[in-house]
């Protein structure tokens, strides 16, 4: 319990802190010492530059949202030529586009799930048509007020926050980035969603 000793002089906030994690885990003295030494000279973070400077925004800095582990970027680091940086970015985008965006599609009552590449479709009408073909059913027309009325089925998706949303409410591009999986709901559940309560 190396962490305990460091906090003897405090009001022992550490012990009463609400955290998710096993008791006894946490930053040890050793780790703190190392990070202290490292931070003797803190890398100039991008945000400081942004506040102060009027530089044109560089294309490479706009990519932060898509990084799996977002880090504060240091301007001009790593030191590679803009030409090379830009070309890598383009290629990354190309590769991602080429790779496709496969999501699982489940249908209530079906024995197994399917997978479709969302990138293949230009918009909701195409997607819904494809789902209708794949599962041999009719989904019907979307209306903001009533959802998919006139159908036993309602297409739904799980978004990044884990909520189940009705397909069609948000713009297509937003849907593409937030859709994690699809589920075709059936019966009373579906009608519940379709009811504009």
């Amino acid at each position: 319990m190396g962490g305990g000793a460091a906090y003897e002089n405090d009001l022992n906030f550490k012990a009463t802190e609400l955290r998710l994690g096993l008791p006894g885990t946490g930053c040890t003295n050793e780790e703190q010492a190392v990070s202290g030494a490292k931070n003797n000279k803190r890398p100039l973070l991008e945000t400081r530059e942004e506040r102060g400077s009027k530089e044109k925004s560089d294309p490479q800095h706009d990519d932060q949202e898509t990084d799996p582990a977002p880090k504060a970027r240091i301007v001009g680091w790593p030191p590679i030529r803009s030409y090379r940086k830009n070309s890598l970015q383009t290629k990354k985008a190309e590769a991602e586009a080429a790779a496709g965006m496969y999501v699982k599609v489940s249908m209530d009552g079906a024995p197994y799930l399917r997978k479709i590449d969302l990138k293949v479709y230009k918009g909701y009408p195409e997607l819904l048509k494809a789902l209708e073909n794949m599962f041999k059913l009719t989904i019907g027309e979307y209306s903001e007020r009533e959802g998919y009325n006139g159908s036993e089925y309602a297409p739904t998706y799980e978004d990044k926050e884990g909520d189940w949303m009705l397909v069609g409410d948000v713009p297509w591009d937003m849907f593409l980035t937030s859709c994690k999986k699809l589920r075709i709901m059936k019966g009373s559940e579906a009608r519940g969603l379709g009811c504009g309560v």
């Binding site: 190392v34 000279k41 890398p43 100039l44 530089e55 582990a69 001009g76 803009s82 990354k92």
Partner: protein, 571 residues
């Protein structure tokens, strides 16, 4: 020697080709100065603001070939605002006005406009060679002018430029009478090119030895071009998307079989180049391989390719080759002299190579003398081993993606490791460092790096002593560039005369103040001390205690430059 007629001296000087040697010759005595200056054909100007074009013309009236460099090196990494400077137009205009017989122009980090390219194409009847590296300010229209008007053009070499693309008609501008091309490199162009015109151009260029295509040239055209140009020595493949069973692929294999002279290979510019086995044919003769613009070639494919490249001397590659791949390089490429390993995913901050790959290279490649290595981590032990294995390094550049990362095993600073490098590599001329570094490493560098000419430092050092050790110790230092280090006025002002022996000094995000820079400028009138001011808050009458965020100083015979933008103050 003074009894020889001038023509004899001139003839003897013809054998002296390097600029440094010619500079030495010209300093022996006045007659030698006169003869050397009037006969010098090739001039190198490392900083276009160090001297005026008129003065160059006056001294070297026989000038035929000039190399000019513009922006500071850190401009490559977006640390210098656009429009800072480096305009080549005044030079070209002066050459044209004075009827210079310009034949070759090589520019690096400069701004060249279409008007300027047009002026070049019309002013110099014997213009033969245009090489542009990391330049900007022009479009394919300017290239069209060069193609149209330079009847004896031998070389058009565009390396990593930012070119505005107005589509590919410029290639069609080479007249049918133009048959002199030896080297054509347009790999950096983003747009389409007229493929039929390209084919015809290659067909009528019997001397073509170097051809680097851009991504818009598909495989079937490549195959046709290779059939017409089997004597190519340097090939840059554009696009390499293919179906391995196709007719086109088979034709490509046949064409490659005929290309027995290819020694240098590069390109493969699209996202996921596929199976490279067609190129295994030419690998055994390759001395230079650049796959650094081809991400997505799988490690296995890379390793297969490299196993065939036993004669490789120069390799530029992405870190997706991995430490494993570098071990293959080390065991296969015994003639390797230069290697550059670039990060394939610089934004995520993970490199796929570590100290293991570096050590493998050092132990497997005894002729290795130049390295640029982007890696995830480093250790002192590894650097010490590398120093022992390779005492012949002339260029050593190491970049750890996390710039202040200490020794990955001991958590110590990397002072001892870099110290070992400079101690062992007595011929070291260029050094870039990264990782956790204290003042100690600079003590070592000052003590041992006697031949060091250029050094790049970032996020290193603890006190002014660091920079002082450097300035005191490295007698041959020419270019020093520093960012994000705790060096201040005491270091800057310690030896002001030193800067006249150097080409330039760059300091950004350090502790030097406006006052310190003003003081330096006052003491040294032969230096231009420029402050790049990007914020509104600071103005020239501001508090001298304010930090100078970006300072660039250089020796010059031309006085303060007249083309400096508003945000650049020359003190």
């Amino acid at each position: 020697m003074n009894y020889f007629p001038d023509e004899v001296l001139e003839h003897i000087f013809d054998f002296v080709t390097s600029q440094r040697d010619r500079n030495s010759v010209s300093q022996v005595c006045k007659p030698w100065y006169k003869i050397e200056s009037s006969s010098r054909q090739k001039v190198f100007v490392g900083n276009c603001y160090a001297i005026s074009p008129e003065r160059v013309i006056e001294r070297f009236p026989g000038l035929k070939s000039i190399t000019l460099k513009g922006k500071p090196h850190f401009a490559d990494f977006n640390l210098v605002p656009p429009d800072w400077g480096g305009f080549v137009y005044p030079w070209i205009e002066a050459f044209a006005r004075n009827n210079m017989g310009l034949e070759e122009l090589k520019l690096k980090r400069m701004i060249i406009s279409d008007e300027c390219l047009e002026l070049i194409s019309r002013s110099f009847a014997n213009f033969k060679s245009l090489v542009l590296v990391s330049c900007e300010g022009f479009s394919t229209d300017g290239l069209a002018a060069i193609a149209s008007n330079c009847s004896f053009l031998r070389e058009l070499d565009l390396q990593e430029n930012d070119v505005e693309d107005h589509r590919g008609h410029w290639l069609s501008c080479f007249p049918d009478t133009c048959t002199s091309l030896v080297s054509l490199n347009f790999a950096c162009l983003k747009g389409d090119v007229n493929l039929a015109a390209l084919e015809r151009l290659v067909a009528r260029s019997p001397n073509l030895r170097s051809l680097r295509l851009n991504h818009a040239v598909p495989l079937d055209i490549l195959q046709k071009i290779l059939m017409r140009a089997p004597h190519l020595v340097d090939l840059g493949v554009g696009s390499y998307v293919h179906d391995p069973d196709s007719e086109t692929y088979n034709k490509l294999v046949t064409a490659l079989q005929k290309c027995k002279s290819v020694r240098s290979l590069s390109g493969f510019l699209e996202a996921a180049p596929q199976c490279l086995s067609a190129f295994h044919l030419i690998c055994p003769n390759l001395t230079s391989l650049n796959l650094s613009y081809a991400p997505g070639i799988h490690g296995t494919e890379l390793r297969k390719l490299i196993r065939h490249c036993r004669k490789l001397q120069r390799l530029w590659i992405l870190d997706c080759i991995g430490d494993e791949g570098l071990e293959v390089v080390a065991s296969t490429c015994k003639d390797l002299q230069e290697i550059r390993v670039f990060p394939s995913d610089p934004f995520v901050g993970n490199a796929a190579v570590t100290e293991v790959g570096l050590v493998a290279l050092s132990s497997g490649c005894p002729k290795l003398h130049s390295i640029l290595y982007f890696c995830q981590q480093m250790t002192n032990a590894a650097l010490i081993t590398v120093a022992k294995n390779c005492p012949n390094f002339t260029r050593f550049r190491l970049c750890i993606l996390d710039p202040t990362k200490p020794d990955a095993v001991t958590n110590q600073p990397l002072d001892e490791g870099f110290g070992a490098i400079v101690h062992s590599c007595k011929g070291l001329r260029r050094l870039s460092m990264s990782g956790r570094l204290t003042d100690k490493v600079f003590l070592y560098i000052g003590m041992y790096a006697e031949q060091l000419e250029m050094i790049s430092i970032a996020f290193a050092g603890d006190t002014d002593k660091g920079m002082q050790y450097l300035l005191n110790g490295c007698k041959k230092l020419r270019k020093l560039e520093i960012r994000d280090c705790p060096f201040g006025n005491a270091a800057l002002l310690m030896d002001v005369g030193k800067y006249e022996t150097m080409r330039s000094l760059w300091m950004s995000s350090c502790n030097v103040t406006l006052g310190g820079c003003k003081s330096l400028a006052k003491k040294m009138p032969m230096l231009n001390v420029e402050i790049i001011n990007e914020t509104d808050q600071m103005d020239i009458s501001a508090d001298d205690r304010q930090k100078a965020e970006k300072m660039f100083l250089y020796r010059t015979l031309a006085g303060r430059r007249k083309d400096a933008p508003e945000f650049v103050w020359t003190l």
